[in-house]
């Protein structure tokens, strides 16, 4: 089959690979009908997150049709079912799964010893996302083996299109969880750094969760225009001062809730000198992340507020203003998304026409053109916001 394969830094190719096969009674194989490129894939494309090996298949936003199952499905999944695959692989039986903490499932990471060394404990297995989280082949391919498939799936009805449903796999629940973790109250201002796909979903989620005001920060005009369409007041950090504008929009109080939908790869630019210092330290291997957004959020958030971090960080961050964080009494909430905790509710909202996540798609192309789309998405060329690939 064809698949997008990681060969090294900025080297993803469309290769011919062997077909996956059932290895365990709880496995299922799906024929992929749609998959997407995520901002997290860019961190891997840049080799900023350690643990990729040449030959790894990319992709964790995938849906398709079940073509084969092991005999351990317990009647929960059968050939012909149409499913969206959550990017977190879940067993459904461990204590964390039972609590709904799916992204820290204790059983699905088949390379748990690596995760235990690096993180102290294991986290869930993830598709196409480094050997720290199991090294499972990803779904930017024609076929995907889904381990623990009897629990790791979201069954979807036929009446809705792939485009409407695909993002249940990751970015929609990710934006939703980012907003839900803010415990939004009707008087709250929610400020969101980053208007990529995750930021866009977080904006819509904050609106649906009843925020009084949503403010979105980025420097890419087309993304800002999409944010504004979704109900956000926008700040272009290349031309405006984020601090001044946020103060202005909140009568000097600062936003109660802040969401970091940017993550470790904050833009490097002279007007944000800390990013240049971070970049230099990254070069000398003294720091792994560029936490500019985190610093800015801690400084600008209203005391007593919440800092919600869906953006991915990889290792060690310097100069985090702990004094401000502590004295302002801020709450930090973060994590890979517990996808299945939210998807029943979100699927209903899509079916009811409350929201249609396909608004974010700007490019739909064949899987073979995947490698060039990684660059296009990364460089924000051709007004790209989200790429969907069709195998």
């Amino acid at each position: 089959m064809k698949a997008l394969v990681w060969h090294g830094k900025e080297d993803i190719r469309c290769d011919e690979v062997t077909d996956p096969r059932i290895e365990d009674p709880r496995d299922a194989i799906i024929r992929v009908t749609s998959c997407a490129i995520c901002g997290s894939d860019l961190h891997l494309f840049h080799n900023f997150i350690p643990g990729m090996l040449p030959g790894d298949i990319m992709g964790h936003e995938t849906m398709g049709e079940v073509v084969e199952t092991g005999d351990g499905m317990n009647g929960k999944l059968k050939k012909g079912d149409r499913i969206v695959v959550p990017f977190t692989i879940i067993c459904g039986q461990c204590e964390q799964c039972k609590r709904g903490n799916f992204s820290v499932c204790e059983t699905t990471n088949r390379k748990r010893h690596l995760a235990e060394k690096v993180f102290g404990h294991t986290t869930a297995g993830l598709f196409g996302y480094t050997h720290l989280t199991g090294g499972y082949p990803g779904g930017q391919a024609e076929y995907l083996r889904v381990p623990f498939a009897d629990t790791t799936h979201i069954k979807v009805p036929d009446g809705l299109s792939d485009e409407q449903l695909l993002f249940l796999s990751d970015i929609f629940p990710t934006g939703w969880q980012a907003a839900a973790q803010c415990d939004i109250e009707p008087t709250d201002t929610v400020a969101i750094w980053g208007c990529g796909p995750v930021g866009q979903m977080a904006i819509r989620s904050a609106i649906l969760l009843g925020a009084n005001q949503v403010i979105a920060i980025d420097c890419v005009p087309e993304r800002l225009s999409m944010a504004e369409a979704g109900g956000a007041t926008i700040i272009d950090f290349k031309t405006e001062s984020v601090m001044e504008r946020l103060q202005e929009l909140t009568d000097g109080r600062g936003p109660e809730k802040c969401i970091d939908a940017t993550g470790t790869e904050s833009h490097v630019m002279p007007s944000q000198p800390d990013t240049i210092l971070d970049r230099a330290k990254q070069m000398l291997m003294l720091e792994s992340d560029r936490p500019h957004v985190l610093r800015e959020m801690i400084y600008l958030c209203r005391p007593g507020g919440v800092i919600s971090i869906p953006g991915v960080y990889s290792g060690f961050s310097d100069k985090i203003p702990m004094g401000a964080l502590m004295n302002k009494g801020l709450t930090v909430r973060t994590g890979q998304t517990h996808v299945n905790r939210w998807t029943d509710d979100l699927l209903r909202r899509i079916a009811d026409g409350e929201i249609d996540p396909s608004f974010v798609i700007t490019h739909t192309v064949d899987l073979e053109r995947g490698p060039e789309m990684y660059r296009l998405f990364r460089d924000k060329q051709d007004s790209c916001v989200k790429v969907v690939l069709k195998p």
């Binding site: 190719r13 090294g135 009843g210 974010v360």
Partner: protein, 178 residues
């Protein structure tokens, strides 16, 4: 490397049968050449500063040349990285510093004045390349037409309806709580 990687995989995981082509855009190639050039020049400045000062009649400025060498290596590594754009801009800035230092050596009493003039010419040429590289590796090339998305609310029933529904849910929750 692929062999080692395959040992890390489970037996059933897909393995490469035939690899597709690798794509490297031309702008990235230019950045790579300039990056390696930068590292080479930087190493020379760092390790053999006296040769350079003698050629340019700038004896005594060895420390400055060494510092410039460090700067060159830094910009070079940056130009080879995914942040090549920042690397190339730092090279453009560095070309400015080089030019300024050379100008100060263009004194009438410098017997190696002609070498300095030659060096200035070279810096000018390289600066042009650096500038072109920086332009071409910029995210979103300026020539591209930009599409804006003012009609993509994502709410099939409209933004106002979405907001109103959220308010209804919230007031329900409040009523339920009291």
């Amino acid at each position: 490397m692929y062999y080692v990687a395959n040992i890390m995989r489970s037996e059933g995981d897909p393995k490469i049968v035939r690899s597709g082509p690798r794509q490297v855009p031309p702008a990235d190639r230019l950045a790579r050449s300039l990056g390696w050039f930068s590292i080479g020049l930087g190493a020379l400045e760092l390790l053999a500063p006296r040769r350079i000062t003698r050629t340019l009649g700038m004896q005594g400025d060895e420390t400055l040349v060494r510092a410039f060498g460090l700067r060159e290596i830094f910009s070079g590594i940056m130009s080879l990285s995914v942040d090549r754009n920042a690397g190339l801009w730092s090279r453009v800035a560095g070309d400015g510093l080089d030019a300024a230092a050379l100008m100060s050596a263009m004194r009438r009493d410098n017997p190696k004045k002609h070498n300095v003039a030659l060096a200035l010419l070279m810096v000018g040429g390289i600066a042009l390349l650096d500038y072109r590289g920086a332009q071409e590796t910029a995210q979103r090339p300026q020539n591209g037409r930009r599409r804006l998305y003012p009609d993509r609310s994502g709410f099939p029933k409209g933004l106002a309806a979405a907001k109103a529904a959220a308010q209804r849910v919230l007031s329900h929750a409040k009523a339920g709580a009291s």
